[in-house]
């Protein structure tokens, strides 16, 4: 920190806080992955595939959380449906039709 650094805004130097924020998100995510049973990622993928048969959703539409409370495990599913599926009848209809076609195609193979 010499006299010249007084003219700098000082913002570009704070990379440590960026590092901490990134690690916080990542470590929390990786910890949930390893605390659950081995089948959890596969279960999530299968559920997502089933939803995709009926509704056009992205891969991030489903969040799966397994929590242990006392003696029982609670599996919490959170599915985010796309907005037009509720507001726009037409697009919901077309999504359903597309899903139906995809299923038929899958059955044919």
């Amino acid at each position: 920190m010499g006299i010249f650094s007084f003219f700098k805004t000082g913002k570009e130097d704070q990379s440590a806080s960026i590092a901490k924020d990134r690690l916080q998100v990542l470590i929390a995510h990786e910890r949930t992955g390893r605390s659950g049973p081995d089948y959890l990622p596969m279960l999530k993928q299968d559920i997502l595939d089933v939803i995709k048969k009926y509704v056009a959703v992205g891969d991030d539409a489903l969040s799966v959380q397994l929590e242990s409370q006392d003696n029982c495990d609670v599996l919490e599913l959170n599915i985010t449906l796309p907005e037009e599926a509720e507001s726009d009848e037409e697009s919901a209809e077309s999504a359903r039709r597309r899903a139906m076609e995809r299923r038929q195609a899958a059955n044919a193979t």
């Binding site: 006299i3 590092a19 690690l23 470590i27």
Partner: protein, 269 residues
């Protein structure tokens, strides 16, 4: 009662071997009969850091395969009474180690009245690393203030909690210690490096020590001398403090603050 301590990290190059050498030397200096085992089969380096590379005859794999006795394999340190080195094999690979074989070695060491067995883990999360941590009562997780090292440390903590013998036998969990190495307080002050508090926050395990970045670490490894023996250096003193804490003494942490700059340095630094 023998205590087995693994020095691990997941990531390579963060200072596991430097730490193993200094922790083992520090414990022996305090009068405990200590052995430090190199688990990095195929990439032996502890012998170099300890300065006994020309005295290696038999190694860990010979001992596991019962081709040599414990007495033949252990190298007695020439500087410190009570300190022994068990080198890794340089010619074999990690598959040469088995749980049963390593269990036999640990059992023999316990019967020879060792107070501490320090296991220097290889990098990674494969067989060698898992073998090094399997028998641990305590773990020193070596971490650099850097994103990939912190993430890998968290991963290795997960493995300690699920794949160590203590976890598999449903015993009391492995006692975890965080050791932050290559810490540079000046860069932390400028916001360029994760701080001690950041890392403790992220990993959520008790802090054993902070080893500042110090030229004496390289000087000592060049000379084959554990840095804890360089009592003048900050790194040596920091390791010595860590030994006190490992033995249960509450000692304030040092070397966390950047040295104060003089007026000239502040103007033109």
């Amino acid at each position: 009662m023998t205590k087995t301590i693994v020095v691990t990290s997941g990531k390579g190059g963060v200072g596991k071997t430097t730490t193993s050498a200094s922790i083992a030397t520090g414990l022996a200096k305090r009068g405990f009969k200590t052995v430090v085992i190199d688990f990095d089969v195929g990439l032996r380096n502890l012998d170099l850091i300890m300065g006994c590379e020309r005295r290696v005859v038999y190694d860990l794999v010979n001992l596991v395969n019962q081709e040599a006795s414990l007495h033949q394999t252990l190298i007695k340190d020439k500087r410190i009474e009570n300190l022994y080195i068990l080198p890794a094999s340089q010619t074999r690979d990690k598959d040469a180690l088995t749980i049963e074989g390593v269990a036999r070695v640990i059992h023999k060491l316990k019967k020879s009245d060792f107070d501490y067995i320090i296991c220097d883990s290889p990098a990674g999360i494969e067989k060698g690393a898992k073998m090094a941590l399997y028998f641990a009562d305590e773990a020193i997780v070596t971490t650099n203030p850097e994103v990939s090292s912190v993430r890998d440390s968290d991963r290795i903590l997960g493995i300690l909690q699920s794949e160590s013998k203590r976890s598999k036998m449903n015993e009391e969990p492995v006692k975890e210690h965080l050791l932050i190495t290559r810490y540079n307080p000046a860069r932390v002050k400028d916001g360029q490096m994760l701080s001690v508090d950041d890392i403790v926050d992220l990993l959520a395990i008790p802090l054993l020590g902070i080893i500042p970045e110090s030229p004496s670490v390289l000087d000592c490894s060049n000379a084959g001398k554990p840095v804890i023996l360089d009592e003048e250096s900050e790194a040596g003193q920091a390791y010595s403090d860590a030994i006190d804490r490992l033995l249960g003494e509450a000692k304030p942490h040092r070397f966390m603050d950047a040295p104060k700059k003089g007026l000239l340095a502040r103007l033109f630094g």
